[in-house]
């Protein structure tokens, strides 16, 4: 059974029809990539999944429970690192623990145990502005992971990084997700990134977004052919709006 199920989600924002009957599922431990053109409604979909905004129609089901318009179950990371400039890296990543009621000292100790795996060892007492872009995104990832380690929603987390750093982060994330068997919903408009990370890809249309195609990527899948397939789907659907 699916751990996460977004069923028949529709949503208009300011009278703008954004999501059109979108159904997306993810099994436990699966990496699902949502691929779609800019402005199609991917972030809106994740906002609904995170419980930040209610859908007009449809439901969010996680572990068999209704989480529609309720926050606090899944962790969510956006393109911006959103680290607080006023806090050191260690205090930034321990925020989710503090918010859950753990005292500051214990939160720090717990967070400290993950610093090495996230490549942040030695930078605990630095402020965000003293870190490189890649490190800031890793800190944001760690903060996300410490909120809910089983389900991570990632909205173009590496879009602001240079190509080389982004590539490194993608490979690192793939290993990490495998090792800790996290369920990942990953939003991107980068096909290469999608192919690298996904067990399954949902291809969305331009706004109002609907699911054009669901592609499973097992080990036997030929990524060049899948890429061709995705491109042809998008070409026939949206013409020149894709980028």
């Amino acid at each position: 059974m699916a751990q996460i199920r977004l069923s028949s989600i529709s949503k208009s924002i300011d009278g703008l029809h954004t999501l059109n009957n979108v159904t997306i599922e993810a099994a436990a431990g699966e990496s699902v990539v949502i691929l779609g053109p800019s402005g199609c409604g991917k972030s809106t979909l994740l906002n609904i999944l995170a419980g930040l905004i209610p859908p007009d129609e449809g439901q969010v089901i996680i572990d068999g429970q209704d989480w529609t318009n309720r926050t606090g179950r899944v962790s969510y990371m956006q393109q911006k690192d959103l680290l607080l400039p006023s806090r050191t890296i260690l205090d930034n990543v321990s925020i989710p623990l503090v918010l859950k009621g753990t005292n500051t000292k214990k939160s720090r100790t717990l967070a400290q145990q993950h610093m090495e795996e996230f490549g942040l060892l030695g930078f605990e007492n630095y402020y965000p502005r003293q870190l490189s872009g890649g490190m800031k995104q890793r800190a944001a990832l760690l903060r996300t992971y410490l909120f809910a380690s089983d389900i991570l929603l990632l909205d173009e987390p590496f879009a602001s990084l240079d190509a080389i750093t982004a590539r490194k982060m993608q490979i690192w994330l793939k290993d990490f997700a495998h090792k800790h068997s996290c369920t990942i919903i990953f939003v991107t408009h980068d096909i290469e990134e999608a192919l690298l990370l996904a067990n399954r890809i949902y291809v969305l249309s331009a706004r109002p977004a609907r699911v054009l195609k669901e592609i499973a990527l097992d080990d036997s899948a030929n990524s060049t052919m899948v890429k061709e397939e995705i491109l042809s789907i998008l070409d026939s659907e949206t013409g020149d709006t894709y980028n």
């Binding site: 926050t71 606090g72 962790s75 911006k80 806090r87 859950k100 402020y127 502005r129």
Partner: protein, 256 residues
């Protein structure tokens, strides 16, 4: 060498000041201007030293009023700012009045308040609070609005309470703006104290100046002015120090 040039740049204002004082000194003696019209800088310094006990006595009152008034203004601005930011109804009902209140001439209040609250320190402190409150609350409110809505959303997605979000996200974001308002208010605080004392008091630098002016001791009046300038300067420096201590993440920017 670079360091030397930097220090030279920093002290060039002091050099200008020195030059002006020298011109003043020489001009007064050249044109034989009597001390009851315009005393020379050295005469003012003489007066300062001679009457230092009396000056310390009056300065302590002024300083006490200013610090009390400014502190009250800060507390009030934080509370009112918090309320206005969180209650939009209150914001629309009160904010325009706050701006409007700034058009009331200070001097009229300085005259009227003693009629209602007597000639002690209370009306002085009220005036200082009224003067200092406004710049702080306005910049604090502006600072609170600078927060990235995505940052708020992130905290919401983590199930943070409104209070936790205010404390961890909004307050630190608003601090730099808050301090720039406080800096302005700190310069006003001493001035507001002196003006309210000038209108009517039994102690304080403003009162001292009216006394000396009536007996044509212009050197004493100007001596008090020097004290006022130094006090205002110290108040600003104290605010800068607080700024430095309370925002460790901003330090490099401050040094520049």
């Amino acid at each position: 060498m670079k360091k030397f040039i930097n220090t030279a740049k920093k002290s060039s204002a002091l050099f200008t000041l020195g030059l002006l004082l020298l011109l003043w000194e020489k001009g007064v003696s050249w044109y034989e201007i009597p001390a009851y019209i315009l005393p020379a800088p050295t005469q003012i310094l003489d007066g300062l030293l001679k009457h230092h006990q009396l000056l310390i006595y009056h300065t302590s009152t002024t300083l006490l009023e200013a610090v009390a008034g400014l502190s009250l203004a800060v507390i009030l601005a934080l509370i009112i700012g918090f309320l206005l930011h969180n209650l939009r109804v209150l914001y629309t009902a009160v904010y325009p009045l706050l701006v409007f209140s700034q058009t009331i001439p200070l001097i009229v209040l300085a005259v009227l308040l003693p009629l209602w609250f007597g000639w002690g320190v209370l009306p002085k402190i009220i005036i200082i609070v009224l003067v200092c409150f406004f710049p702080i609350v306005i910049s604090f409110l502006n600072g609170l609005d600078l927060v990235d809505p995505d940052q708020i959303n992130l905290f919401r997605s983590m199930g943070a309470t409104k209070w936790a979000t205010f404390k961890m996200v909004k307050l630190p974001t608003a601090l730099p703006a808050f301090f720039s308002g406080l800096r302005i208010s700190a310069t006003y605080s001493i001035m507001a104290a002196v003006i309210s004392e000038w209108v009517g008091a039994q102690r304080g630098l403003g009162y001292y100046m009216t006394l000396q002016q009536k007996s044509f001791a212009i050197d004493q009046v100007l001596g008090a002015v020097v004290v006022i300038c130094v006090l205002s300067f110290i108040m600003v420096k104290i605010v800068d120090l607080l700024n430095f201590l309370l925002m460790p993440w901003n330090r490099n920017q401050l040094v520049r």
